[in-house]
Amino acid sequence: MTEKKRPLLDELKKGKWPSFVTEIEKSAAKKPSAEALLDLVERSYKENRVHWKHGGIVGVRGYGGGVIGRYCDLPEEFPHLAEFHTIRVNQPSGWFYTSDALRTLCNIWEKHGSGLTNMHGATGDAILLGTTTEHLQDCFNDLSDAGFDLGGSGSNLRTPSACVGPARCEYACFDTLDLCHHITNAYQDELHRPMWPYKFKIKISGCPNDCTASIARADLSIIGTWRDAIQVNQEAVKEYVDNGFDVKAVQRACPTKCISFDAEKKELNIDNENCTRCMHCINEMPKALRIGKEKGATILLGGKATIVQSAFLGWVIKPFIKLDKEDGYQELHDLLEKIWAWWDEHAKVRERIGELIYRKGMASFLKAVDLEPAPQMVKHPRENPYFFWYPEDFAAEKEVKEAGKQVAGTEVAE
């Protein structure tokens, strides 16, 4: 019978890739709202248009976010979808689950919602898709009693997420999962109660491969790196060569041309001072090359998608930071809190941190958060002569002169 009822969606049950229609049908066997969703989406397919209205403000007691209100624009025809809200559940760091934890989520969602999920949403949360206002509090109660909590939505800290890191990756420069868990817990208030100009996303990648795509989509990216030398295991290099692996191809692709390779001795060396830690050679030869030993992270700020002023990639604001579990990541906390304070004070409504810096200039930002300018922050220095001088610059000059020394930057080699 379903064959005739939904001819368009039935087309999407064909083909080899797993079908979302089949998934909704599985829930529809038990849940009228999932059944109604099939009909509504069929209708969208017929009419080429969306049938959802703008979200409304709904939630659970004590929280300002974590639930996305969603209402169908045809409530009379689709009473089961009159309210069809999303609950964002904060994922465990690294998206690891035991089968029991996963079943617990399923049981709660069977009781309170459509039985449909997104595993996972783009911010990292487990998304429970579709319930009514009436069920929200009970659903939250059951989640919380079972050890789950809500993620972020609205103008607040969004659920931080992290790459798999030390749990399964030899490239991890710090404990991404621990840092993610730590930050999420340290800023529960910022996560659950929107009080900022707009959203703020933190993503954590253990190395420059950036598996969480943080540069592209996090306001603040924490990306692992190291300051010393790539560790080379020459025995393993020989093995690669003996197995016919093309080491020269790796050498050619190195962006800084800092790999030397002696084909006769089967020896590879890296000019570490000039290596920019792009990961290419390590990715290609993981058995022979390892990240360095003096590890930490680079902090980038400002990444966002196109809306409104254009997309930005995150840019370097702190070339190297130590991420110490022992001192509770204090340096990172200090930096984060200074950034938030400045942004909160100066941003307009719906202005992301990157856009604010674009409007106010990096110089004022760096001053406000006590960061020293560094050449690592730019691709190249300014090309125009339009720069500002501040009273404190003149004061500093005066002090230097009075002390009979040369003004910084005016030294000339004899």
Partner: protein, 359 residues
Amino acid sequence: MVNPYYAKTDIGPPYFWDMLPEIIKNNYGKWLYHEHVKPGVLKHVGEAGELYTVRVGSPRLLSIDTLRWFADIADKYCDGHLRFTSRHNVEFLLTDPSKIDALIEEVEAAGWPVGGTGKSLKNLIHTQGWIHCHSAATDASGTVKAVMDDLYEYFKKDDLPAKLKISMACCLNMCGAVHCSDIAFVGVHRKIPRVQEGLANTCEIPNVVASCPTGAISPNPKEKSVIINEEKCMYCGNCFSVCPSLPIADPENDGIAVFVGGKVSNTRSGPAFSKLVIPFIPNEPPRWEKLVVAIRNLVEIWVKDAKKGERYGEWIERIGWEKFFEKANLPFTDKHIDDFIFSVPTFRTTTQFKFTNNK
């Protein structure tokens, strides 16, 4: 309500450590290297032993019936442990390599593809579309299903020039940040929002005016409403995000734009935005034939022409965008030339370029 119960707030996410299998706890931070055993199967070697991962593609929208079945598979083969990836895959974590083939056989027999590792097509990341969002200019799940059905073979093999990441977003909000993907397709509008009566009852007019990136919106105090300047509006929909009285969805004219050549990893050339190559493909539910053909064409010209190791954008950097349009047999139009605020640095300021067929 009688005796309402309010559970504890701010308990934070479950502690990840409790979710990890023993092999990971023992090897935590002590991994030595990894190998690609075969498409969809990774082997990680650490000081305390070996871990095998079987990666399974999913449509992201999953019923709890399926999740329970995944949990059963994890019990049967993986001592009850599994994880999800940021690209909507499910990963089964095994210590006993002799179980890998049986696991693969069981999940594939049930219709779940194993693949997406190494130099393969990764699972397509996407957003909500007509399933759950008011803002969508096209559907997400359906377009993705049609494209993945067509490119299925590339998910299953790992002999592409490099990894291939395709992403989709159903409006310019781009949840999921598709703007740095090898290939991205995005739902777009092409007509200005329709100003509805009673706007001032639902929206703050100054906020609406301020939301427009091109300054196309001005207040209309007489009507307690706003006026949209047709010449300035480029249909981004941001005003609709802040004000429901400015609907922009349009069944006749909405569709999809395609961008290519972005990446996020810092490898070699570093992160880059994707760039516009196809300004418009009409919505064709349920199977989006033109979109599917267009994406396949984009994939195939890269597979044919790229050198080993070249991501999509690295390949184009080498041959030049003018050559790309020739090879892709795509028209180059006024839409391809940036006229937004950061446009000028994208213009060619040298006499070095290649001549192509048509130009």
